[in-house]
Amino acid sequence: MSRINDFVVRFANVNGTGSASANYLFAKSVFRMGVPVSAKNIFPSNIQGLPTWYEVRVCEKGYLGRKEGIDLMVSVNPQSFKRDIASVKTGGYFLYDNTKPLHEEFLRDDIHFIGVPLMDICNREFTDPRQKQLFKNIVYVGAIVRLLNIDTSIIEGLFAEQFQGKEKLIAPNVKALHLGSDYVRDNFRYPLEFSVEVRDLVGDSIMIDGNSAAGLGAVYGGASVVSWYPITPSTSLVSAFEDYAKKLRKDPLTGKNNYSIVQAEDELAAIGMAIGANWNGARSFTATSGPGISLMSEFLGLAYYAELPVVLVDVQRSGPSTGMPTRTQQSDFISAAYASHGDTKHILLIPSTPTECFDMMADAFDYAEQLQTPVIMMSDLDLGMNEHMTSPFQWDDNRKYKRGKVLTASQLDTLPSWGRYRDVDGDGIPYRTLPGTHPTKGSYFTRGSSHDENAAYSEDSATYVRIMDRLLKKLETAKKILPAPQVYQSGKNSDHAILFYGTSMHAAEEALDVLKMEGTPMDAIRIKAFPFSFEVSEFIELYDKVFVIEQNRDAQVRALLINELEINPKKLVKVLNYDGTPITADFILKSIHQHLIQPNN
């Protein structure tokens, strides 16, 4: 069987040695050759010194999920030699720095060892101590480029782009690249039995991480006030917003900023600022991760009850508590959906790709302002921090922001009367006014205490119930405008179906293809928003069993489906990956097979 364009390379490095950008060079070169590729950084919560891994899957068929089984391990970290060698597939390759000999106990006779004296080469060829360290990374990239039949000129092109404005760095990088490539040429048989061949399979795709895409989406969506508190893995989202805003949001005449960013003292202040800005009519958001959601909960309840728009991104990581801060999970669904005390319910958007991060981020401001309530985009570390192949972003220049029901001064003048929380249109969404609009009309007191339709404090039971019920009605309206689920149906209904969301998409789609090939095709649905629309319950109705694929321990979205749609729990089979690494198709298939053999286990 041909192994062209179908293999996995894993890099084992020491954190903080600049390896991730070298490894990305390799992934990007495969992409430049027109071959689908996915790259995943599996890194520790550490600045320098601990082991870190980087996985690149090359897949002609276009599957972008993670895959188990390593064909080529590139290891420059003796700390993790033992487990790295153990993780290589039989018949696979282990490339290592043989400046120091490999201890015999590490050797395996069912894999190939490729020793490249990275340290020796760098010590000989470079004088600067920092360069000796950094260029080890480029030397091994050069070595694998030769082993996998990649044209060095592609990497050279990437250097030229990377070092624009710092051109003197290009020559030593090119030199290091060739040192690695030449060493393989002179010492080993190449290419390996798996390698890269040029194809035309990536179309007009781009490569970007979800956080950068969301940051850009916020610029396009009109966010002008951003407040945030640093937390992995959401930090790079706000950094991306800032980088893009610096270029795209400067007033051309004055050089002043058409945006404000404040690094808050904590997550409470971050969401408080975002709510204050939205109350005052600017589009504003904050980004955080699980611990931040816990801290922001009280404020989310205020925004829900006082009916204020606000956009929040939760780039999920492994919990509970501090958990594994640099590992991925989808484990904040329950805490986000019902964040805050009392009866609350929030809108969640669930992107699966950077393109959806861009689109949903821009749309989130429309939803929040139309519905006057918090909107939380549920990304995760895998989506947010890894570079993914994804379709290019698009924007309709005729698009107008949907600012929702906000009364102008002249509307206030002509209205016979107005009450902040009156349901005039029957859709559960009241009309709001912004401070400073009219000298004598439209002012009201925004409060988290119980209020009547005119925003006056009230402890009247009937009034309280009326307002609480209207808030539910508003969420019914939300279901009609939020993104509909994506349905995968063949027309001939299977007994079983699969339900998934977020970053499980690539692995789930791959599993669906395998099931089809195995002769047991299944239909599927991908959920993109909460509260769930009627399409979700209609879909689940059609099948005996639905496998609910999630990356958390407690089957959180399954719980939401049972709670919100009153589905019989026996119908929803849990498929749960929660070890902190992105889910794979193999894992999904194994779980499904197991259930089909022993349904009661």
Binding site: S227, G276, P435, S443, F445, G448
Partner: protein
Amino acid sequence: MTYIKPKFAHPRLPKNELGFTRKEYEGSLSTLCAGCGHDSISAAIVDACFEMNIEPHRVAKMSGIGCSSKTPAYFLSNSHGFNSVHGRMPSVTTGANLANRSMIYLGVSGDGDTASIGMGQFAHVVRRNLNMTYIVMNNGCYGLTKGQDSATADYGSVNKTGNMNSFEGIDLCALAIELGATFVAQSFSGDKGQLIPIIKAALSHSGFALINVVSPCVTFNNNQGSTKSYDYVREHNETLSSLDFVPVKEEILTDYDHTKVTMVEMHDGSMIKLNKLSPEWNPEDKLSIMTALHKAREKHEILTGLLYIDNQSTELNELLNTTSVPLNQLTEKELCPGSAILEEICRGLR
């Protein structure tokens, strides 16, 4: 309950330059206890805004949770108000101000809301020099939960249940000066003559203006032994400065004693005429006021008046280099870079 006051006003009530009567700066009927110091502060806010000809709708009233935080319902009913969550008024006000820098932000808070649960946000809003007036209605106790000591209760003071406070009270003025506040004043709710010009000056200040107002709690902290009772404050109030606020258009009478009177020019061109009552103290010198505050503390006195001002203050929007157009007025034209630039960005990602 919020009670509705009659809207009827006598046609001959005096009007300000905008044609508004004082009544149009009032709010709903207060539901605080009869004699509460907070109501006097609300009245002083009404007077200050009326006399300064402020358009009520240009003011945003911000608050947290507590007796003090209820008061925005009792003044300026033509202004939007935001009663947020406990101790978090500063962050909500920061966001609101960044969204629209052209409005006046008037925050009211209490000693619990500021010095306990809200201490973190208070410290950081001071540090950022947010352009706002922050009034602390400071009574040294938690009224709504029936009189527990707050973090500003003085060491040794005795609360209504007879317990002595064995912790040091936090001096919000000294703290604010230390944190970089650019306008710090202290007053007493019973001294309207001093409080009104202080509020006017604070509203004119460009940057963070703190007014710590000792405001006795008649129900829980007006007993013998309390250092925040009417009697105690009247007896131990040491006035450091008396001041007049001189609006932009008014002519300043030139005939004054320069050794005793300091003129401070505000950002908008208005002036504060400050009568210094202590020769060692200079309102623009942090060291001298910190010394004065420490000395007063030793003597169990409360210094009142404008304590410190930095009239060269640079407020947050200026620090962030934000456009002068309020951000909430920007449209797709200024906010959205458009499809051509997006295509260019995508080209760079291939």
